[in-house]
């Protein structure tokens, strides 16, 4: 018989706190979150070592091609994916569409992405994420946008990048903007912090917290245009905590192999010899789109504010 020291808990189990919301994002660090549209793809992603999957009806490259209004996925599809894997399952709600978010919470998804990849439902208000027990991740292009989302209750941030292009340039721009501003913050005195908070339209308390931590108060992933192991390692070396890969995997020639390689690249992002080995013979990468060929209305990153 085992020994018992009579340890037990006192009081209540408190759910839906910010610590458990932000804590799940901390557990995802150093990992790859993959877009999947079927339970079969979810299984491939899990087998390849994804730390979570994003369940959606169409990957961004197809949303871009098909046009029209893009919405939350069919609950039946999301349930199928939840049943297929043991890793966390995320799903997307439209910006400002708090009822889609309520439905996703009721389905038991582990994280909601309030995403510019879907067509925005509200052009002035993002979802009040404090009202939910399920955590949210939101996109940003710069520090001000990241801190506004955190003040609304986001427990995880990602760069917006330019989803569905296979072109990492916008994700790099957004990551550099965020980390460059954090480095600037750390040289400012209090008077300058007040002025800077006003300039970037972010709450002063969060600006001050970011300055003293030397990083965002929550986990920050790269998203939007990551297509190769080298892209993933580039984003990690720029300072992100992990990566989302959308169209880059299941729009490539050999999804399982590419997914596996990107997972290895996020662990060994600082080891060029290993990166060389895992980048070898991956088959066709997704066909990319040059950002300058997109009209302003085709740029998903400009959705949200």
């Amino acid at each position: 018989m085992s020994t018992e020291l009579n340890g037990h808990q006192n009081g209540q189990m408190e759910k839906g706190t910010f610590a458990v919301k932000a804590g799940l994002a901390q557990m995802l660090k150093g990992g790859v979150i993959m877009d999947v549209v079927t339970p079969e793809q979810a299984r491939i992603a899990e087998e390849a070592g994804a730390c979570a999957v994003m369940a959606l009806e169409r990957v961004p490259a197809d949303i871009r091609r098909d046009g029209g209004v893009s919405r939350m996925s069919d609950p039946d599809m999301i349930k199928g994916i939840i049943e297929a894997v043991t890793i966390p399952v995320m799903a997307k709600a439209r910006i400002g569409h708090f009822v889609e978010a309520q439905i996703l919470e009721a389905l038991g998804v582990d994280y909601i992405d309030e995403s510019e990849v879907l067509t925005p439902a509200d052009e002035e208000h993002h979802i009040n994420k404090h009202k939910f027990g399920v955590p949210f991740v939101c996109g940003c292009r710069n520090l001000g946008e990241a801190l506004r989302r955190i003040s609304e209750g986001a427990a995880m941030i990602r760069t917006k990048g330019e989803a569905g292009t296979g072109n990492v340039v916008e994700a790099v721009r957004h990551a550099r903007a965020v980390y460059g501003d954090i480095r600037r913050l750390q040289t400012m005195d209090e008077d300058e912090l007040f002025a800077f908070a006003k300039e970037i339209r972010a709450p002063y308390a969060l600006v001050k917290e970011t300055a003293s931590l030397g990083r965002l108060p929550v986990v920050n992933f790269a998203a939007g245009g990551v297509a190769t192991p080298a892209d993933a390692a580039l984003m990690m070396q720029l300072g992100v905590d992990g990566v989302f890969v959308g169209s880059g995997i299941f729009k490539s020639g050999d999804p399982a192999k590419r997914a596996y390689a990107i997972v290895q690249a996020v662990t060994h992002y600082n080891d060029p010899k290993i990166l060389a080995e895992i980048s070898t013979n991956l088959g066709e990468a997704m066909v990319g789109i040059n950002i300058e060929t997109l009209s302003d209305s085709e740029k998903l990153a400009s959705r949200g504010w």
Partner: protein
Amino acid sequence: MAKLTIGVLALQGAFAEHINMLGKVGVAARTVRKPSELDGLDGLIIPGGESTTMALVAERWGLVQPLKAWVQAGKPTWGTCAGMILLSDRATGQKQGGQALIGGLDVTVSRNYFGRQIDSFEAELSVPKLGDPPVHAIFIRAPAIIDTGADVTVLARLTENAQRSVAVAVQAGPILATAFHPELTDDLRWHELFVNMVTIGMVTEYAEGSG
């Protein structure tokens, strides 16, 4: 006594938080991503994260056997959450096809015992071994220990109601396992406990060496 160095398995998950905590208790810490990086370590922490991801990356770089050998050699090892799953001899609720486990801790864990993220929670745990005040514990899609072997000491138990009570922290010789995340709090007592286990391990080793 020689200066301690504790490694933190850094394949995926919340390894930076453990390194930060070890810094606060004044112990040198470094990341472990390859088998050679286990050399010269006095203790090892396997952090929280996704156990399936960690197992796959460990397999790819030949870490599973060295980690098994590490544990079998009786070296001090602490697993939090996913790390606890990897150290357990038996696990339920695995992904289809199962996954490679390190093993060495004679318990059965139930993966995601408390449910999905919406059921993740914080609670105060009384832990006699650590004394007062109670431990503030953060459980995230957490596993629980549903069965323990003869040589396993339960350090903390979570009682959900009159019917359900499970072990959430255990020790068996040089192995410590917690279903929750001390590294997400400011409470250094678990890290101090592990450092003590490592120190005792070293003293024993030297005593045997000199005898």
